[in-house]
């Protein structure tokens, strides 16, 4: 059943857009050009080239064109395209004397052999438009011609019932204030075809699944978005109520309560029932892993489960945040984002620097340095890398491309890579945006340092008197400018990096706080509200925009207090849910109606195995040596040989993307579990936990309880105890029997997942 009330909840702007669409001055599709008789290159011709894929990245739109014919990608540069059509190809592409013999038409219509096949039917409306344009002399973009400003989609967001259809309408808006219905010229695509698909005419069809999706609409060089919500069930469920966390910290309580209300609103809107709350065993394991990168010990689990205090979870979380392992674990996370890399430079002299930088990150986290200061200290670092640890960031980040892409991805949550060579196909970013941001770093100077390769270590960073970045296409010298912001007004005495850091860390910056809260939400809840966490764009909308805004506002107002943010997230209702699905939320991947399990990261898994078996990993020095007992989360960089860490997805730290940490399954991982000599060594170690089991006088069932508490942070079920005891009794070699039992538990998904 369609529920108009629900629509109102999420679509306050719908009415406005609808009326805007209706008010379009020429809504009947008549050509909107200054000479009534001939189609316009900008308004008519280029969108046709885009719609049929002619200027797509797989065909003539790629950097080298296709078969000698090159168009600008997706029609972003119409002037260029006009030259390509008229002046190149020996004038055969467009032939006003005999339009049908123009290669543009004869190739597209398959009249002469065309690698791309037949794309436009002779006699179709689009064929006629191209033909009329050629016949009229193929006029180019005219200076006085209104330009395309944007497209709007109506409706722009709506609840769409499962197995139903919805017609989208696309209106192009021009610089002279006029608008026009271009639905039949636009290109449509949804981001989750298993939820909804959209056909060539803009008709959406939903499937049986529930969830949130977006449809991207492309016309000419612009994009518009429709946001769809498909309810999970046709009937309304009982309204869930938001929980108020049991904490005396009022700032956390207020923020977490707001978060809970927004979560509950969305569950109601989507028709999903959240899973049951996680029990104490699940919660302590989850929280210890997420906050400290460590498994809880059997003693911690027992103490926590016996604790009768109503605020025990709050106390647990507070305690975990104070542990040194919390700083180590988050330092490992940030050292990867900040590309604190030891390998890949053809030099072995990186360790001192990487260790210094990692230690600085760890200290920053241990003292809960406000996030704005943390980032400012990195961005504006000046001086010797031997004395100013955050300056070591500039070792890995050293080219125009590195500066722009690392900043954008790490701190602004934007993947701007595309705009290096052409306008971003799914966002507003242009090459000018890219190179203006690059200009912020044009005066970064480097001197000194020793080097045994092209990349020196121990450089000294300073502000050069001059330095500029030019636009690769226009040759224009770029003025430093932040993404989407105004040019910086700077004198030669100002460090543009300071201006950038100041712009970023203003409370109303549209990117900075949002990116961090999304990153942290993704850390604890497995999936960012914007997913992937560093890919914010209009065409990749947040699954719960109000939630993201609330968290970001609260984080900025807290003075960028990271621990406050972690407390808000971990005290939220979503973080306390069970991972087992119920009937309504089985397919939910976006609204956090249950705890989405994720694999233990490589370092946590290795440390966890060492902890369970009470045998530390011996890390080879690489450059440098590590004392016995060094944990994987404490390693200074990734240049420490470990097959285990590599096969289980340790990131190489070559980009700022957290996606480098892989949780993909692979055969090599399974083989590592089955027969690695490292695991076998730890199982069989004389001083290890399993040797103690093999030699102690305890009953098999008592031992089994202890094993389960250690491995899974829970007690065994009676069936599990029986299985274990039966097996242990049936074997003659007690030691080998325990080795097999413990191994089989370490290889389970329950152990290898955080759930």
């Amino acid at each position: 059943m369609f529920d108009p009330l629900r629509l109102l909840l999420i679509a306050p702007s719908l009415a406005v857009i609808l009326s805007a669409g209706v008010s379009a001055s020429v809504a009947n599709g008549a050509p909107e050009s200054s000479t009534e008789s001939s189609p316009s290159f900008l308004v008519d011709v280029v969108p046709i080239l885009t719609r049929y894929g002619c200027n797509g990245g797989g065909c003539h739109g790629k950097a080298t064109g296709q078969n000698g014919f090159r168009l600008s990608l997706l029609g972003f540069e119409p002037d260029f395209d006009h030259v390509a059509l008229l002046r190149e190809g020996r004038g055969r592409r467009v032939f006003p004397g005999s339009p049908d013999s123009s290669l543009l038409l004869s190739k597209a219509a398959g009249q002469v052999p065309h690698g791309g096949g037949t794309r436009i039917q002779i006699g179709s409306e689009d064929y006629r438009v191209l033909r009329d344009w050629i016949q009229a002399g193929a006029p180019g973009p005219r200076p006085e011609e209104p330009t395309l400003v944007r497209v709007s989609v109506s409706p722009d967001r709506q609840i769409v019932e499962p197995n139903s259809t919805l017609q989208l309408k696309v209106v192009a808006h021009f610089s002279d204030g006029r608008s026009r219905d271009v639905t039949d010229r636009a290109l449509f695509e949804t981001n989750l075809p298993e939820l909804a698909e959209v056909n060539e005419t803009g008709e959406l069809t939903t499937n049986t699944r529930g969830g949130l999706f977006a449809a991207m609409v492309r016309f000419g060089g612009t994009v518009g978005v429709f946001l769809g919500t498909v309810p999970f069930r046709g009937t309304t469920i009982d309204v869930q109520s938001a929980v108020i966390p049991e904490t005396t910290n009022t700032a956390v309580r207020d923020a977490a309560s707001s978060v809970n209300r927004l979560l509950v609103d969305q569950w109601n809107r989507l028709g999903v029932e959240p899973s049951a709350p996680a029990d104490d065993f699940e919660f302590i394991r989850r929280a210890t892993i997420d906050i400290c990168g460590t498994l809880p010990t059997a003693e911690e689990v027992t103490l926590f489960s016996n604790d009768k205090g109503a605020d025990k979870r709050v106390r647990l979380l507070d305690g975990l945040l104070e542990r040194p392992s919390h700083a180590s674990w988050f330092a490992l996370k940030w050292a990867a984002i900040l590309q604190n890399r030891g390998r890949g430079y053809s030099t072995g002299k990186q360790r001192e620097g990487t260790a210094l930088f990692t230690a600085w990150i760890r200290d920053s986290i241990a003292e809960n340095k406000p996030y704005d200061r943390f980032v400012t200290e990195i961005l504006t670092a000046t001086g010797s890398q031997e004395r100013v640890p955050p300056a070591i960031w500039y070792r890995s980040v050293r080219t125009t491309k590195d500066y722009v892409e690392s900043i954008a991805q790490s701190f602004l949550g934007v993947r701007i890579q595309c705009a290096q060579c052409h306008r971003h196909p799914a966002e507003r970013w242009t090459q000018a945006d890219y190179y203006s941001l690059a200009a912020v770093f044009a005066r970064v100077g480097r001197k000194g340092g020793f080097s045994d390769a092209e990349v020196p270590t121990s450089e000294v960073l300073y502000l050069k008197d001059r330095g500029e970045v030019t636009h690769p296409r226009t040759g224009e010298v770029m003025t430093p400018r932040p993404l989407g912001g105004p040019d910086f007004q700077l004198s030669k005495y100002d460090d543009p990096r300071r201006a950038l850091a100041k712009w970023m860390t203003e409370k109303d910056n549209p990117f900075f706080a949002r990116t961090m809260v999304n990153r942290m939400w993704g850390h604890f809840l497995q999936r960012g509200i914007i997913h992937p966490i560093d890919d914010s764009r209009s065409t990749n909308p947040p699954s719960n925009p109000e939630l993201l805004d609330t968290l970001a506002r609260d984080f900025a107002e807290s003075g960028y207090d990271v621990r406050h943010l972690i407390r808000v997230i971990t005290n939220s209702q979503a973080y306390g849910l069970n991972s087992a699905p119920n009937e309504s939320n089985r397919e939910d991947l976006q609204s956090y109606s249950r705890f989405y399990p994720r694999r233990l990261p490589a370092e946590v898994l290795l440390d966890g195995i060492s902890q369970v078996l009470a045998v530390p990993t011996v890390f080879p020095g690489g450059p440098g040596t590590f004392p016995v007992g060094t944990r994987a989360i404490d390693l200074p960089d990734e240049n420490v040989t470990s097959t285990f860490l590599d096969v289980f997805g340790r990131p190489a730290r070559t980009t700022a993307c957290e996606c480098e940490r892989s949780d993909e399954p692979a055969l090599a991982q399974a083989l590592e579990l089955v027969n690695s000599s490292e695991i076998q060594r730890k199982l069989a170690h004389d001083d290890g936990y399993v040797a103690r089991l093999g030699g102690n006088e305890e009953s098999h069932s008592n031992n089994t309880v202890d094993i389960f508490l250690r491995v899974f942070a829970r007690k065994p079920s009676s069936a599990e105890t029986e299985t274990a005891v039966d097996f242990l009794k049936s074997e003659t070699d007690r030691g080998e029997a325990y080795r097999s039992l413990v191994w089989s538990l370490l290889a389970t998904n329950e152990f290898m997942f955080n759930h």
């Binding site: 078969n67 949804t190 981001n191 890949g344 065409t539 699905p581 397919e587 055969l667 083989l671 299985t723």
Partner: protein, 443 residues
């Protein structure tokens, strides 16, 4: 000009509208591939697709001299010509080095591309260029940026038998680290054999149990795992859990079952045949490669080398050329006799060739301006020479061929659609062949 008909050139044809949209625009967020990622990975690496063909690679790490092997210059002055004489072959009009005497007898099955060119002369960047088809890392920042052709094959086709790893490196992946999957995902890295198949106690470390662990214990562990591995599968609908389960089953099967271990067991081969391949690392590696593709692997790379003969090239080549010649020739003969030559492609290449002019140390230096790669079998024409170098070597005289042309040829023969794109870490779709197009003279 490229022909515009048939399969030798394709732009967007044959692609569904949906694919076409993905190629024409960046992918909007994540689709089904993401939702069921893990399961897709497990299936992709264990189910067969494509033409059913496979590839065996001889990788000449360090750079083999083209002028002393396939592309002789007998008319050139002595300092260019080198020490070997050309000999006639079974292919009309084609000559090769006297050190390739055994390949000479099967040259009607073997083709050469003598005009391969790229624009770097340093080992690591060049190795990346040849292993991936693309320039990327520099000497100073040498992390891999693109997937190797073997990983592309692994991801696109998987193995032809679910027990077998789809992509294998003998004995190990090459030291620069460019034979891996990078953004395609760890599941598509090569499975490393880890030992010299010619050694007396040849054993695959990953398939042999660690010291002190008996098969019986592994059986126990497998049974116990089945009983305890009870985490509800539906807690994770990303497919990662399901994929991991599939790999656990496969790994236990590989270690305890016969199928995979048999494939790696050279002792079941006839001694005479083993002798024909040669009792050396290259020969036994080639024989092992044949057994692996027979058992269902799709790409097997034999890393030979080190061929970096800056000094005294002659003694260097004297140790490398005869075993390489035996290995390639025996493989061609053996595959032909078994009726498999049409289904198994053979490819021999390295990061570059070597300078046409000998240096002052009786060696040859790095040369990427124009060098030769060898291709045979897999349905390509034998006995062909594609392209030509200049009179004394040096530059390309005819038909410049870039690395991606070679990979377009290989992918096409293996049945991988050339319009396939994979997303890099930033979500940008990257074509598997880029600007490359199949070498039509070989098809």
């Amino acid at each position: 000009m490229l022909t515009l008909t048939g399969t030798s050139f394709s732009c967007c044809d044959g692609i569904s509208r949906r694919n076409f949209l993905q190629i024409g625009s960046p992918v909007l967020g994540l689709g089904l591939a993401d939702v069921l990622r893990g399961r897709a990975i497990a299936e992709a690496t264990t189910t067969a697709k494509g033409s059913g063909k496979s590839l065996i690679v001889f990788w000449t790490h360090g750079g083999m001299s083209q002028q002393d092997t396939y592309d002789m210059k007998p008319e050139a002055p002595a300092e260019y010509r080198g020490m070997y004489q050309p000999i006639a072959t079974s292919a009309n009009g084609i000559t090769v080095s006297e050190r390739f005497a055994r390949q000479a007898k099967v040259m009607h099955h073997i083709s050469q591309v003598r005009s391969v060119h790229h624009e770097n002369g340093i080992h690591a960047p060049s190795a990346h260029w040849m292993a991936t088809g693309r320039f990327g890392p520099t000497l100073a920042r040498n992390a891999a940026q693109h997937p190797s052709f073997g990983s592309v094959i692994s991801r696109s086709l998987g193995a032809r038998n679910s027990h077998m790893p789809p992509y294998v490196a003998i004995p190990k992946a090459e030291a620069f680290g460019y034979q891996g999957a990078v953004y395609l995902g760890k599941a598509y890295n090569p499975f490393e054999v880890g030992a010299d198949p010619n050694s007396k106690d040849f054993k695959v470390a990953n398939l042999s149990m660690p010291k002190g662990l008996e098969l019986k214990s592994v059986e126990n562990r497998r049974k116990l795992l089945r009983k305890f591995d009870t985490l509800r599968r539906d807690v994770d609908n990303s497919g990662v859990l399901e994929g991991l389960d599939a790999f656990k089953t496969q790994a236990l099967e590989m270690v305890t079952g016969d199928a995979v271990r048999t494939a790696f067991d050279l002792s079941s081969e006839d001694d005479k045949l083993r002798d024909r391949y040669g009792r050396h690392q290259y020969g036994q590696s080639a024989l092992l490669a044949r057994r692996l593709v027979e058992a269902g692997s799709t790409c097997v790379t034999i890393n030979t080398g080190y061929w970096d003969h800056h000094n005294d090239i002659e003694p260097g080549l004297e140790t490398h050329l005869p075993p390489l010649d035996a290995a390639i020739a025996a493989l061609v003969e053996d595959l032909h006799e078994r009726g498999m030559l049409n289904d198994v492609m053979i490819y021999c290449a390295g990061e570059f060739g070597r300078t046409p002019l000998m240096n002052g140390h009786a060696g040859r230096d790095h040369w990427s301006n124009c060098f030769t790669v060898m291709l045979a079998g897999g349905g390509i024409k034998g006995g062909q020479i594609v392209g030509a170098s200049e009179k004394w070597g040096g530059g390309v005289k005819e038909r410049l061929t870039v690395p991606l042309d070679i990979y377009a040829t290989i992918f096409q023969q293996l049945g991988i659609p050339l319009e396939t794109h994979y997303e890099d870490a930033s979500g940008r779709p990257v074509s598997i062949v880029g600007e490359g197009s199949p070498i039509r003279e070989l098809l």
